[in-house]
């Protein structure tokens, strides 16, 4: 009790400067502990949030694979192939050069580069047409009308490679729904006529 009284006397005899010092020390400690608490929370929950974000961000799938298309000599300038991958993706494969390297061939996707709808060949207009936003492409896949033409886009090309005398295409293996059973190859006398 005597000690407590002594403390009280000491406190009541403090000068205004002492009180300011106490106040600023208290302010400093309050701020420092708030910052430390915020830092602790960020350090604790931040990694958890980052891990949750990483968890939600899709992992890379390995859906594409090299698939056999044809013997290179069998593809001529007059005749192209409509190749259908196991996923159902339809690809027009045509010869562009006279050699037998991958660069002598082109494999056009049927996916519109504008917003991902599928294009179809219109024989009467000799063009690929996208029904979503009225995009059109010529036989080589170059955009001629609509938003893809404004953005100077062309139909995507699938990677090709020649091994020996065999042509391979890098195309998706699986689709979200089962592809309709049909022959995976068709020949066309016109470069882009669909089977």
């Amino acid at each position: 009790m005597a000690e407590s009284q002594h403390d009280h006397d000491k406190e009541s005899s403090s000068t205004p400067t002492d009180i300011d010092d106490d106040g600023s020390r208290r302010d400093f400690l309050t701020t420092a502990s708030t910052v430390a608490m915020a830092g602790g929370l960020i350090a604790g929950y931040g990694p958890l949030a980052a891990m949750a974000g990483r968890y939600l961000y899709p992992a890379k799938d390995h859906n594409d694979a090299w698939q056999y298309v044809a013997i290179v000599d069998e593809i001529t300038r007059e005749e192209s192939l409509i190749y259908q991958s196991p996923s159902g993706a339809r690809v027009v494969i045509a010869r562009q050069g006279d050699g037998n390297t991958a660069g002598d061939f082109v494999a056009l996707s049927n996916v519109c580069p504008h917003l991902g709808c599928s294009v179809h060949w219109e024989p009467q207009n000799a063009r690929f047409f996208c029904p979503c936003h009225n995009g059109a492409f010529d036989a080589t896949g170059k955009a001629t009308l609509g938003p893809p033409a404004q953005a100077n886009q062309s139909l995507k090309q699938f990677p090709l490679q020649v091994v020996g005398n065999q042509l391979y295409i890098l195309a998706p293996l699986v689709s979200i729904v089962e592809a309709e059973p049909r022959s995976n190859m068709a020949r066309c006398s016109h470069a882009v006529r669909e089977a």
Binding site: Y57, G88, G116, P131, C132, N134, A151, I176, V177
Partner: protein, 349 residues
């Protein structure tokens, strides 16, 4: 005070008077006109969506292999499945229409002005959430139009600088529509967006109660007429009547024009004629008119401007010295909105 009442009062220490004081906000007279109740209308329809959505969730399966079949099962096999699915569809349509009309009412009566700017921003968040809910819900059906609509919309985000490609990956669960996409749409549609909307609604209504409803006086009202009426029970009765009329209308539409089921999604073939839900007709036509980059950036600019409109309006008023400048801009925007919607509805391509 009876023993039961005393028991209850001890555990919930709020008196009837205190509760009335807390909740019985005076409501301005103009809210007796039903078109000023368009804020309560989407709230009621949201409730209908939650109830019918929960019922549909008992049968719906969010996988590409079974989504379409589960919808077919709900529509054709489950008792009253067609009714609840149709109610869900029509209530969604009405809810978006009511949110748009509510926002137009707030806009044209300048009810977003100081000090209600933040509530306008929250309202915009609710509009965006409602549109997103409509989009993800439509995609869950997994029919041709909904599949291709989802494909187009998700590819759109690719054109948004920096965050677009990441947003697309997060929404689709991959580079393109894949076996994980439907479950993501489902969780966004049935959990994330409704929970966010409930939180936003709580803040929205709290701010309305704190600020009070914007006062509007009509020229034909006598000056000595009381300016307010009670929330309980008068305004609540109005809202209940609006709800009942809506439920009759929804039931009639669900019976006469039930939700249909188009062909199942075929990821290899886009239908010859493709249209999104009516509330996206404007964006769809806009995309046909301009290049992708311009269409996306201009849409982003317009939506961004709508979010901060209270401050733009304040600036415009200072610059033009006209209090009605926003009204003229609003009329022009509404004509454009309706015009493009009609053009998209009428034209096949």
């Amino acid at each position: 005070m009876g023993r039961l009442q005393a028991w209850f009062a001890e555990r919930v220490p709020v008196t009837g008077d205190q509760f009335r004081e807390l909740t019985n906000e005076p409501v301005p007279n103009h809210l007796k006109r039903w078109w000023f109740c368009l804020g309560g209308t989407p709230a009621y329809l949201f409730l209908v969506q939650i109830v019918t959505g929960i019922l549909l969730a008992f049968y719906y399966q969010a996988t590409p292999a079974s989504a379409y079949e589960s919808i077919r099962y709900i529509t054709h096999e489950v008792n009253y499945g067609w009714y609840f699915r149709s109610l869900h569809k029509w209530a969604a349509t009405f809810m978006i229409a009511a949110v748009i009309l509510h926002q137009m009412r707030v806009y044209f009566t300048a009810a977003y002005r100081r000090p209600r700017e933040i509530n306008w921003v929250i309202g915009m968040c609710l509009l965006m959430a409602a549109l997103m809910t409509g989009f993800t819900g439509y995609s869950l059906v997994f029919e041709q139009l909904s599949y291709w609509g989802a494909t187009v919309a998700s590819n759109l985000s690719d054109a948004v600088p920096i965050v677009g490609p990441i947003a697309k990956q997060m929404l689709l669960g991959g580079e393109e529509y894949n076996e994980h996409t439907l479950s993501r749409f489902y969780i966004v549609h049935a959990a994330i967006l409704p929970a966010s909307m409930i939180l936003l609604l709580i803040v929205h209504i709290t701010l309305i109660r704190l600020h009070g409803v914007t006062e509007l006086r009509f020229a034909d009202e006598p000056a000595d007429k009381p300016g307010h009426f009670n929330f309980f029970p008068e305004h609540l009765y109005t809202e209940i009547i609006v709800g009942l009329v809506l439920m009759i209308l929804l039931s009639a539409l669900a019976t006469i024009l039930p939700a249909e089921l188009g062909p199942k999604a075929d990821p290899q073939t886009t239908p010859e004629v493709i249209k999104p839900e009516w509330f996206f007709y404007v964006s769809f036509r806009w995309l046909k008119m301009f290049s992708l980059t311009f269409a996306v950036l201009s849409t982003g600019f317009i939506v961004g401007a709508m979010f901060v409109w209270p401050w733009i309006d304040s600036l415009l008023m200072r610059v033009t010295k006209s209090r009605d400048i926003s009204v003229y801009i609003g009329i022009a925007a509404t004509i454009l909105l309706i015009g493009l919607t009609i053009v998209e509805a009428v034209l096949e391509h």
